[in-house]
């Protein structure tokens, strides 16, 4: 039982890391990044390949973070010219390009065969039974650090500028600030976090293959973000927990719907997830726990 809970928690925390990166990019900077999974993939493969070559895991994770962040640099340049939905499709294309490359360049990535036998975090350091727990604790610490970092960033003058960019880029330029610079940095930080998440996941799963990095993962992160309420870190946490809750909790539907076949049950699961999405968006406009709009109502006299 605890093992399963820990596994789910690990899954939550990995999604959470990714979501926090996206929260910085979209929630606070307004960059519509639909290629988040691309950075995640870059992180995974970088760390996995390095570790398989014998590089110590902390080093490989650092490299994963750095490389994912670097990969975001050119996209930041592109985001200079492209707004909103146009950037969305370009980033989506980027993540697909990453996946195709991983899939095709067999000499490096073994292509579709994937990378088995990636060194596990903490392997050889602690009792195998405790590894998952340790990974969970590590992720918890990483998440906390990342949240603190983001919290600090968005409260700073830097955060104020990226928030302003989200609202009105033209006006930001009129204030003598170069939006491209801020956007690129925000994109790189978010991407780096996703890369780190990817690396950690690779060392947790020990097997990765290109099929894991499909755009659906990006959609999931977006869903988490919107469920919890865009623009608040607390919302990100709740959204992610809810998402994984929907995805995983629906496994236990079997105990409720005893009559239906397995195929139908799978349909019911997806149906419930779909309905939950619609209902949350419809009936909880600010996300379940987002920034309320009440702020404006007070104090006009």
């Amino acid at each position: 039982m605890e093992g399963y809970l820990i596994a789910i928690s690990i899954s939550v925390l990995i999604y959470l890391l990714m979501a926090s990166g996206l929260a910085l990019q979209y929630g606070f900077t307004g960059l519509v990044n639909f290629g988040h999974v691309g950075f995640f993939a870059i992180g995974s493969y970088t760390s996995a390949l390095l570790a398989l070559k014998g590089v110590p895991i902390p080093v490989s994770l650092a490299a994963a973070t750095a490389l994912a962040a670097l990969a975001a640099y050119p996209l930041g340049m592109v985001s200079l010219r492209l707004g909103g939905d146009y950037l969305a499709i370009v980033t989506l294309g980027f993540s697909e390009a990453v996946r195709m490359t991983l899939q095709t360049e067999e000499w490096l990535t073994r292509g579709m065969h994937g990378l088995p036998g990636i060194p596990r975090l903490f392997a050889g350091w602690v009792d195998p039974k405790m590894i998952d727990l340790c990974i969970f604790l590590l992720l918890l610490a990483v998440c906390a650090a990342v949240f603190l970092l983001i919290h600090h960033i968005i409260r700073s003058p830097f955060g104020r500028v990226i928030e302003a960019i989200r609202d009105n880029e033209v006006a930001v330029r009129a204030l003598g600030k170069n939006p491209a610079q801020f956007k690129t940095r925000s994109l790189m930080i978010g991407a780096g976090i996703a890369g780190l998440a990817g690396g950690l996941q690779a060392h947790y799963l020990t097997f990765i293959s290109p099929e894991q990095y499909v755009p659906l993962i990006t959609f999931y992160i977006w869903i988490a973000l919107v469920l919890g309420g865009v623009g608040s870190l607390r919302g990100v946490i709740i959204g992610t927990v809810l998402l994984v809750g929907f995805l995983e909790g629906s496994r236990f539907l079997r105990d409720i719907f005893t009559g239906v076949s397995e195929v139908q049950l799978a349909s019911v699961r997806i149906w419930i997830i779909g309905m939950a999405l619609i209902c949350v968006v419809l009936y909880r406009p600010q996300g379940l726990f987002g920034k309320s709009s009440g702020k404006s109502a007070r104090g006009s006299n």
Partner: protein
């Protein structure tokens, strides 16, 4: 008998009342001006009359019809039209389309021709997307758009803002002529002195309440009000003979 009768109207965007306890009349063929400081609630009041304000209470009757029950579109149908202060044109439509798109316009083509006669600057730019218009051109278009549907009451939110003196005069002349065509006018103006001069009546709004209402002439004569709300006389009179006041 008054065309639009507002009684004890309160409302706002959130929980807080932006306007409260408003009583106001606009008679048929009357020009009524609302003035007041920035943020007093003038636009909010106009929006309430158009049905755009999210939350209102009180009564509003237009020509015997209870307005509180009507949708925005229906208010247009019974003869109310509106020029907002901001976002007053469809930016992604061309000048011509901005006029064509108005519903309830009898003899549309002829009416559009009239509008282009009235504002020749627009005629030359008929194919331009409205978002590319200059500030003044927009204002003209917005006014023309509101006239399209041959309304009986026209709500104008600062029609002269961004207009050159020549055009301001032209627009005001047009407003002055409206009662002859059986159109009543309720307008918000910052150039209140100019506006009150030809208004039948005026209201001064402050912090969401009506602090003074009287005929246009009487308001202009009220010194204290001038200092606090509508500025001293010479400022507004200036455009006609600018050099004398430097």
């Amino acid at each position: 008998m008054s065309l639009l009768k507002i009684a004890n109207l309160s409302g706002g965007y959130g929980d807080v009342d932006i306007i409260s306890g408003i009583d106001m009349d606009v008679g048929a063929k009357e020009i009524v001006t609302i003035a007041g400081t920035n943020g007093a609630g003038k636009s909010t009041l106009i929006k309430a009359a158009m049905g755009i304000l999210p939350r209102i209470s009180g009564t509003m009757v237009f020509d015997g019809i209870d307005l509180m029950k009507l949708q925005i579109e229906d208010r247009v149908r019974i003869g109310i039209s509106y020029v907002p202060q901001v976002r007053n044109v469809f930016g992604t439509l061309t000048v011509l389309e901005n006029l064509q798109v108005v519903e309830h316009a009898p003899a549309k083509a002829a009416r559009i021709r009239d509008m282009f006669d009235l504002f020749p600057a627009l005629a030359g730019r008929r194919g331009t997307y409205a978002e590319n218009l200059s500030g003044g051109e927009r204002q003209q278009l917005a006014f023309a758009r509101a006239l399209m549907s041959s309304p009986r009451l026209i709500l104008l939110d600062e029609p002269s803002a961004a207009l050159s003196p020549a055009l301001t005069d032209q627009v005001f002349e047009e407003v002055k002529r409206l009662p002859q065509a059986d159109v009543a006018v309720l307008m918000v103006e910052q150039r209140a002195r100019q506006a009150l001069a030809f208004s039948d009546r005026g209201y001064i709004l402050d912090a969401g309440r009506i602090v003074l209402s009287d005929t246009g002439a009487n308001l202009l004569a009220n010194e204290e009000m001038g200092d606090v709300y509508i500025g001293r006389g010479q400022v507004q009179a200036a455009p006609q003979s600018p050099s004398s006041h430097i």
